[in-house]
Amino acid sequence: MNTSTKELGDLVGREYKEGFVTEIDSETLPPGLDEDVIRFLSAKKSEPDFILQWRLESFRRWQRMDTPTWAHVHHAPIDFQAISYYSAPKRDEDRPKSLDEVDPKLLETYTKLGIPLEEQKALAGVAVDAVFDSVSVATTFKDKLAKVGVIFCPLSEAMANHPELVKKYLGSVVPASDNFYAALNSAVFTEGSFVYIPKGVRCPMELSTYFRINALNTGQFERTLIVADEGSYVSYLEGCTAPMRDENQLHAAVVELVAMKDAEIKYSTVQNWYPGDEEGRGGIYNFVTKRGACRGENAKISWTQVETGSAITWKYPSVLLEGKGSVGEFYSVALTNNRQQADTGTKMIHIGENTSSTIISKGISAGRGQNAYRGLVKVVKSAKNARNYSQCDSLLMGDQCGAHTFPYLEVKNPTATIEHEASTSKIGEDQLFYCRQRGLSEEDAVSMIVNGFCKEVFRELPMEFAVEAQKLLGISLEGAVG
């Protein structure tokens, strides 16, 4: 066991692979937040007036709110005046029109990440709206999408070109007053993606966005809005990596999904932001509000997430099941190692008749990581025959980590059937022994067992993401148990 423990130490001690800073001149606002900063942001993006007013109102609400403290995480108080709220790659006026015009350093960054845009173009079925810090630098596959009427563009562009859609849906699922970080985001969001799938259209490719936090001390406040009109289908992928640094960075994104009658949205995330060093220094604070609304009959929203990064994750992708027979799903793998803390889960709000939801949450805690599932299943009086099944399993590796479960079930209709199950265990000595005597190395055995533990979630991921997710888990965990 001793030799392997040493190997484990090496593996666990491995430096963050994606840790590098690309030197690009950024035009960055000095730290601090007031109404002038918001006006500057809005002017910079030539936003319509209704957006500016909405931002200002959100900001005023935010000022009256208190920082939430209920999550099972610990961190020093965040100084919101010490954050810079805008950072954009320079040369705003001659923004690149095609990949050729993109700053080679940017492309290099993507190459390092293993997602070069030029290759992405060739990769069948994947369009990329890459967000580098806060301004979109390249959007591909637009033509192909435009042919079927799909709108996939930066949010700022959507505000200019489709103000009626933005006005109708922005903030309709996550209102500015929803919570502290959503209010902050509504006030200062800088960029994000907008997707609209017209009636009856099956989006011909997987849509994806790669987020990346780059400039030092720049909080990133993304805002994503996806609207799937009647009978449409879209699968959206989001993946994240960030460079290494010493100060904690705040990321407070908002994602809103709207699914109309018979529409389906599948939203997949692989999150691999810098988790901080072994002592938990540095690392991203990921305080995200994600929510979808099934507005019409038989609408379906499915969230799949693999959370391996960030120092602190605070994230509850939720579904409002309004339409009759609508379906909500949540599949999650959350891994915490070293001093990472995750408080994640979902909310399924059953409002319409015959609505159903499934929650599968797999938490893995290693090192001194703290992993909490926090979920709400709420059945209101009108939700006849609501059905929910929740399963939350935790795997513990190491005697200093923690696994916690905070499920809330609120039922006001007698026809509801709600089931919640949770289990906690560690990898059994006997399981390891079995694998070892079949000739597997301890690492391979652990990796295999962990992958088996997460299989129910991984098989919900699109192919290319599933591969990436398995790799990520491997890197973060291999041999963390002895």
Binding site: W70, H72, V379, K381, S394, L396, M397, G398, D399, Q400, C401, G402, A403, H404, T405, F406, P407, Y408, L409, E410, V411, K412, N413, P414, T415, A416, T417, I418, E419, H420, E421, A422, S423, T424, S425, K426
Partner: protein, 461 residues
């Protein structure tokens, strides 16, 4: 001053006025306990729904008018107990009227050597320093305003102490009769149950309403089990529909000791039970069960907190509820496994049966695990009767209404099977069945249109 603080102010004032008459004054540890508690009550007030632990339970119905602390000497006729006997129990009995010990109504002659039972007030007067040393030890940090209110007074209650090695078969029955002296009374029983090394006992706490008076029962029971002791404990609440009950059970279970506690709540306007069990030694174990039947406008809230502080502990927890009419129930089960508590084996289960449109259940099973070599599982369900089981019974010629009643009673009775004392178990099962029978027959006449809808559908022939 917040609303909560204002609602507590009357009780703070009352405590200050009564302090001089409270038993055991001058014993420094008791004085300190009362002073700390009244200070906390004054500072933090009674809980509000902003407290996570009171999120689903509004105490506005309790705070809208202040209750007056009851005084000793309430007159409860002996005939009152005739209809309330537990058949074949043959118990040692202590009766408390509005929270005060009533020796005349009690039966505690022929005590075996090593068993000391009696009233807390008398105990504090006779042997105060020794008793006071135990008060507050199982309670630990006072969790909320009601526990603080109880601790601020410590007027009377039951004291049950077993010396090391004593095992008694005869159950000890503590009967608390509320509302004897009229409307708007606050009774504050403070009970202490201590079992010495290797001893064994059965203690039953029963809470009964004298009549239909409105009142608040704020009770706190501390249980201290020494090494290898075994306590079978049962709390039975059958209170009037205008009665409020806030009950605390705080236990410290030592090495190899076992606590089995079952809480059965069949009525009451608002019932809140807090059970906090600390497993304070290796191989300590706890079985915490509960059965709550929330009908009419009852609101029943069960909060449990089991802390595994040492290795090899075992906890089993099953709470089952049946809700009808406008009944509301809350279950919050928290299990914490501390870093040292390796090889902990813990299971928790909460099952609920909803029978009416207006009923509501909020359940929150919660695990916090800080050790890696543990086996912990929990589950919660909300649903209706199993259709296949119903079909089976109907196919055997049982009519649907009877089949429903049988299954509902079986659902509730299941959790009572763990009660060791046979006469008590039979009493509880009978009580639950009778309560369900009454509630279901009312429901059947009220809500044929809803729950009886499948009766109208012709069975496929």
């Amino acid at each position: 001053m917040s609303i909560a603080d204002a609602s507590a102010a009357a009780y703070v004032t009352a405590q200050k006025q009564m302090l001089a008459q409270l038993p055991g004054g001058g014993i420094s540890s008791l004085d300190a306990h009362r002073a700390g508690a009244v200070d906390q009550l004054a500072r933090l007030g009674l809980p509000s729904q902003r407290d996570e632990d009171w999120k689903y339970t509004s105490i506005r119905s309790i705070t809208k008018s202040a209750f007056t602390p009851a005084e000793p000497g309430g007159d409860c006729p002996a005939a009152f107990f005739n209809g309330h006997e537990i058949a074949n129990l043959n118990a040692l009995r202590l009766v408390f009227v509005d929270g005060f010990f009533a020796p005349a109504l009690s039966d505690h002659s022929d005590l075996p050597r090593g068993l000391h039972i009696g009233g807390m007030a008398q105990g504090l007067r006779d042997d105060g320093a020794r008793l006071a040393a135990h008060l507050g030890t199982a309670l630990g940090l006072i969790p909320h305003g009601f526990a603080a209110m109880n601790s601020a007074f410590v007027a009377d209650g039951a004291c049950v102490e077993l010396e090391a090695g004593l095992r008694i078969d005869r159950p000890i029955e503590l009967i608390f009769v509320c509302g004897v002296s009229g409307e708007g009374l606050l009774s504050l029983p403070r009970n202490l149950i201590r079992l010495g090394v290797g001893s064994q006992a059965t203690v039953i706490e029963r809470y009964l309403s004298f009549d239909r008076s409105r009142g608040l029962n704020n009770t706190l029971t501390e249980i201290i089990l020494d090494e290898g002791a075994t306590l079978d404990h049962c709390v039975l609440q059958s209170l009037g529909e205008r009665m409020f009950h806030v009950g605390g059970l705080f236990a410290s279970v030592a090495k190899d000791a076992t606590l089995r506690s079952t809480t059965v709540t069949t009525s009451g306007a608002l019932v809140r039970n807090d059970a906090r069990v600390n497993l304070d030694g290796e191989r300590a174990s706890v079985h915490l069960d509960g059965c709550y039947l929330a009908f009419g406008r009852s609101h029943i809230d069960n909060h449990t907190h089991i802390a595994h502080n040492h290795p090899n502990g075992i906890s089993r927890e099953t709470y089952k509820g049946v809700l009808g009419d406008r009944g509301r129930a809350v279950f919050h089960g928290r299990i914490v496994v501390k870093p040292d508590a390796q090889k902990t084996d813990s299971e928790q289960n909460n099952q609920n049966l909803l029978l009416s449109e207006e009923a509501e259940i909020d359940t929150k099973p919660q695990l916090e695990i800080y050790a890696d070599d543990v086996k912990c599982a929990h589950g919660a369900t909300v649903g209706q009767l199993d259709e296949t089981a119903l079909f089976y019974l109907v196919s055997r010629g049982v009519d649907r209404a009877t089949a429903r009643r049988m299954l509902t009673q079986a659902f509730a009775a299941d959790v009572l099977n763990g009660v060791q004392c046979e006469p008590l178990r039979e009493h509880l099962q009978h009580l639950a069945s009778a309560r369900l029978d009454a509630a279901l027959s009312e429901q059947a006449s009220d809500q044929v249109g809803d729950l009886g809808r499948d009766e109208a559908a012709p069975v496929t022939q």
